[in-house]
Symmetry: C2
Subunit: 375 residues, 2 copies
């Protein structure tokens, strides 16, 4: 019995893109789906009501950050992450692996797990597959992730092979760790930038009884085409009846290319982070780069909205480019909020349109039209 | 014909407190009223919808800041400040005088006006009564303020007298400056910390045909009792049929003592600024100091709301002290937003309850009860 199930609704006739429904204890979500990131139990600058209103169905929160602060016990005591942060829809938590491995010199890997130093106070901490799952069970996310090593790029064949094998053993341990039955666990394929290891990892993970599968270790600095090739292999060897999640990917071009290779779920800090840097995401038909740098003086007297016909809070209410530019230049939080709301809405709407194109067997047209406008 | 009128509804039988209605081109507002501050065409961190929802009727925006950035011409071109910032209720703009005089060494006063350097780029600027009114007319605020000098504390008698007389001449010039007929102008009484000058200033201003009167130059560092004494004189010599506005005052104790001396309007950055410092305003019956320092470890496991029975967005939706503490410690913007919403709601509700006590001739009980809980 799986807490999370994937229902395949339609496969595009001319590509590997697929539309489906992800069933979770906190609701059913249409896929392909983009999950906004709420690292520290909040999607930066916006409220749960706003998240709901813009159509976000499931968000990602970070085990590493919450493990360190405020701690999983506190969140469990508060009734779990959903209640703590007042979000009654889906939550996926990562395993902490990615952040821990990003610490570089500050961590040490053994077969048992990873010892590392907290980026907050330098204190010594330890995460293992069992502890990561325990923490995620306390957080109470709908989808927990198996503990894995995200292999840096570049990495040689031998290291990649060893690490991928360890990730498989950790996947097994994650699966065998004590779990609640209202939470699902996804395994994570690795394999670095090697075709055979990617295939081997996807096949090995597929044998395990996970609720879904993630593709990890991509978008870590490798060239775009290499990423697409590795993704192609990974998804090819994953089962059709379970959800596929490409971790840490969220620019529109990557989302399209991920969907084209059969991916159902994505997460990325991109839309929220660039909002805080003063960038508005727009269709490449509005701006070939697909983004507006709001500080630019060309917007000083621009009394139009960020994007025509956009139904986000900012555009719908006629907050203009000139006003948003003023707010960003004046370091006003409300400017970041408006851009965050716009960017997240842009991506939700983008995914919705992509799904519709799949249902109509027109995904390739959607894809071609998008890239025809790009630089 | 006045664009702004004050309607006296009820005078408390046992004090000088009064309840009224301020009629403006953008609506009628019940007084006494507290105006949140939206310095740069936004009340920091929150949206116009949230402002409306928490019951703020009229806000203050700063001429000095908007004059420098983005400039009055741009806001006029955008259709005025109401449209620019998407706020369809009352707006009062100050004259810029207070900020200019706060610049200290960076400004030079002549009879004509004040030359100063921008805090943003150091460029040389000039404000006079006529220019300040012109800027405020372009902004399109409902209530513009006459250009005055806010006298520092302490200041000797001669300087105070000279400055106050100049403020009177500037008031006359502000009144005679070209104006739109859908905007009102308030005069500002000064007089420093001298009884006779306070009386003289209130009497002199009263002779001029302003839409209302402000009491300036208080809460600038003087002892609390001295402020109350000066306020007492100022309001005593102002006409009963026009609104009285105590500038820059907004802690609950000062609000009560202002109302007790016949003040109708207040503004202050206090509730929004302390929110950004992680403080929640609560009734002194909840905490004798009337505020909670959210970073304190006593809130780590506190799963109650900021204040019981509070109907603000944060409390109504059960965002707990433990969660808000986590957000503040993690430097999350949403924490500041929740505290800002709570604090502004707290003050709006505080003013509403104060008004009800006046209407019931029970203001003195309200006042006594409040102070009985304080440290």
């Amino acid at each position: 019995m799986h807490a999370i199930t994937y229902e395949l609704i339609h496969k595009d006739k001319f590509s590997r893109a697929r539309a489906g429904i992800l069933h979770t204890p906190h609701g059913d979500f249409l896929t392909p789906i983009f999950m906004p990131v709420g690292t520290q139990a909040t999607v930066k600058s916006i409220s749960p009501d706003e998240l709901e209103e813009l159509g976000a169905g499931i968000i990602l929160s970070n085990t590493y950050h919450l493990f360190l602060r405020p701690g999983a016990d506190l969140i469990e005591e508060a009734g779990g992450l959903h209640k703590f942060m007042h979000w009654n829809h889906g939550i996926l938590t990562d395993s902490g692996g990615f952040q821990v491995f990003s610490l570089g010199e500050l961590r040490k890997i053994t077969e048992e797990g990873v010892t590392f130093r907290s980026h907050i106070d330098g204190s010594k901490k330890f995460l293992s597959p069992e502890i990561s799952i325990e923490v995620q069970m306390k957080l109470g996310s709908d989808i927990a992730m198996a503990f894995d090593e995200c292999i840096p790029y570049p990495a040689d064949y031998n290291y990649t092979k060893e690490s991928t094998e360890r990730t498989h053993r950790w996947a097994e341990r994650s699966l065998n760790a004590e779990k609640r039955n209202d939470q699902g666990v996804f395994g994570i394929c690795q394999g670095g930038m090697y075709f055979d290891l990617r295939q081997h990892s996807a096949e090995t993970l597929s044998e395990m009884d996970f609720d879904g599968f993630a593709i990890g270790g991509l978008s870590v600095g490798e060239p775009k085409n290499l990423m697409y090739e590795m993704l192609e292999v990974s998804t090819k060897y994953l089962p059709e009846d379970k959800a596929r999640y490409l971790m840490g990917v969220g620019t529109p071009d990557h989302l399209i290319e991920g969907v084209a290779r059969g991916v159902d779920m994505f997460d990325c800090v991109f839309p929220t982070r660039v909002a805080r840097n003063g960038l508005a995401m727009v269709s490449p038909s509005t701006s070939a780069k697909g983004r507006l740098v709001m500080k630019n003086s060309c917007f000083t007297h621009d009394h139009e909205v960020l994007e025509k016909n956009c139904n986000c809070y900012a555009c719908r209410n006629n907050f203009t480019r000139a006003y948003i530019r003023h707010l960003i230049r004046a370091d006003e939080i409300f400017g970041l909020r408006l851009l965050t709301l716009h960017n997240l809405y842009y991506l939700q709407n983008f995914m919705r349109r992509m799904r519709e194109s799949i249902l109509a067997d027109e995904f390739n047209n959607f894809r071609e039209e998008f890239f025809s406008y790009c630089d």
